[in-house]
């Protein structure tokens, strides 16, 4: 049950609740488009603690709360305030719980949101911790697939790029394994999905691992692109030799199905050429915009506003 509870990992939300959340997001999305005022969380306060910068995620949460008529208090540079004075995360969270109704936290250490949940009397939303979970990104990714393609079940999803270190990829992969989908994992050998994550999903969905995007591109309904960072490679020659085959340009997109989509968690650097932006299949900006209604629905379901 979401009401009154924390969302630390995507597995804190059951599939039925997720579908309910998507419907609510649909209705919020319409209300916002039509300029309707929603006041369902009037009087509620959301506190945001960002121990590492992520302007996009923070603004998306804050905008969602304002759209619902709630208030926001935020420490944008938590690092410079309480942490610098040596306060523990546990104490910060205990105190924050006394002056807010819900706490959104982003932290560079693995498992920080779980620790926060332990010390908070109010629900915690994990806005990304360490290399671990980032559940609201996963929610908006799933929501985007459903909205763009009308369903998640029955689709073939190709993930491309850095599948080893990318936290959005692991969380999305685990969430997708609850659906009836086919998944293709395309990456250089060095950046393959870690075995312990593959072990968790392999029995639930059909998975194909390949280095070559051409093997799977024409069958894909979704191409989910992630950035390959130069620092992951030991030498630049190796990086230069592989990077070219993982850049998505118009030629690649032209081989995709007509009603397929290209997604990216953003920000992108050069992994999708700007020429792709004009293609109707380029869904990444719509995907980013979905972050607002999805976070509105999540806040609303946790805080019990309607």
């Amino acid at each position: 049950m979401l009401k009154g509870n924390s969302v630390v990992s995507i597995s804190d939300i059951g599939k039925d609740e997720m579908l309910e959340l998507f419907k609510l997001a649909d209705s919020y999305s319409r209300s916002v488009e039509q300029g309707q005022r929603i006041d369902s969380l009037h009087g509620s306060i959301m506190a945001t603690f960002f121990y590492e910068p992520s302007t996009r995620t923070r603004l998306s949460f804050e905008s969602a709360m304002h759209r619902l008529g709630g208030s926001v208090i935020s420490v944008s540079e938590a690092k410079s305030s309480s942490v610098a004075k040596g306060e523990t995360l546990a104490d910060t969270v205990r105190m924050a719980a006394s002056y807010s109704d819900i706490i959104v936290i982003r932290h560079p250490m693995d498992g920080a949101a779980k620790l926060a949940r332990k010390f908070s009397s109010k629900p915690i939303i994990n806005a990304g911790d360490g290399s671990g979970q980032h559940p609201t990104q996963t929610l908006l990714d799933l929501y985007t697939i459903r909205k763009e393609l009308s369903d998640i079940d029955g689709k073939e999803i190709t993930m491309l790029g850095d599948l080893r270190y990318g936290r959005t990829v692991h969380s999305l992969l685990l969430a997708l394994s609850e659906f009836d989908v086919k998944i293709n994992l395309v990456s250089p050998p060095l950046l393959r999905v870690p075995q312990h994550i593959l072990d968790q999903v392999q029995s639930m969905v059909k998975i194909r691992v390949t280095e070559n995007l051409n093997d799977v591109i024409s069958d894909s309904d979704v191409l989910y692109v992630t950035r390959i960072q130069k620092e992951r490679f030991t030498d630049e020659t190796e990086y230069n030799s592989v990077i070219g085959s993982y850049i998505v340009n118009s030629d690649i997109v032209s081989t995709m199905k007509k009603n397929s989509i290209v997604m990216h968690p953003l920000p992108r650097v050069n992994e999708i050429s700007p020429e792709v932006d004009a293609d109707p299949r380029a869904a990444y900006f719509r995907q980013a915009a979905n972050g607002i209604p999805v976070r509105m629905a999540l806040l609303s379901m946790i805080l019990g506003g309607k």
Binding site: T88, H107, M109, D110, G111, K114, L115, K118
Partner: protein
């Protein structure tokens, strides 16, 4: 021949038997030998054993184990048996058992794990496999192998 006779009998105390050959010193460090003070200890290292080929045996006089010590020993010697001796007789004998939840005595191997930060929490792990031994951190979800566990005990 009863090989345990090589080690003197004790009047009151604890016998830790079926410790894998050579691991006695690891067990002694768990028992914090330097803190044992007056207790006399006998150790048999690499004694022939029918079941194990070779085993270590430790006898400590006037000393009984705490729960957390037994839990720690279970990672070093998963087959160990513990006998409590009272007046030259075994008053209680049991096998150690790997705990399902491991709280506080193993450090997470992930340096970026929040349980390694200056926070008021104990480390917390779940046992995910007994053979081979594997545990998973409840905070960062990283799993640790037997070798990694022994280094962080």
């Amino acid at each position: 021949m009863d090989t345990t006779l090589k080690i003197s009998k004790i009047k009151d105390g604890t016998v830790i038997d079926h410790v894998p050959g050579g691991m006695a010193f690891k067990v002694l460090s768990i028992l914090r030998v330097d803190d044992l003070n007056e207790n006399s200890i006998s150790i048999g290292v690499r004694v022939p054993s029918e079941q194990m080929g070779q085993k270590d045996v430790i006898k400590v006089e006037n000393r009984y184990l705490e729960r957390v010590e037994v839990d720690k020993i279970s990672f070093v010697a998963p087959e160990a048996t513990i006998s409590i001796v009272k007046n030259y007789n075994i008053s209680e004998k049991y096998k150690v058992r790997l705990p399902e939840k491991i709280i506080g005595f193993i450090r997470c191997i992930n340096p970026n794990c929040i349980s390694n930060a200056r926070e008021p929490v104990n480390s917390e792990f779940k046992l995910i496999s007994r053979m081979p031994i594997s545990i998973r951190c409840e905070y960062c979800e990283r799993s640790m192998s037997e070798r990694e566990i022994l280094q962080n005990l």
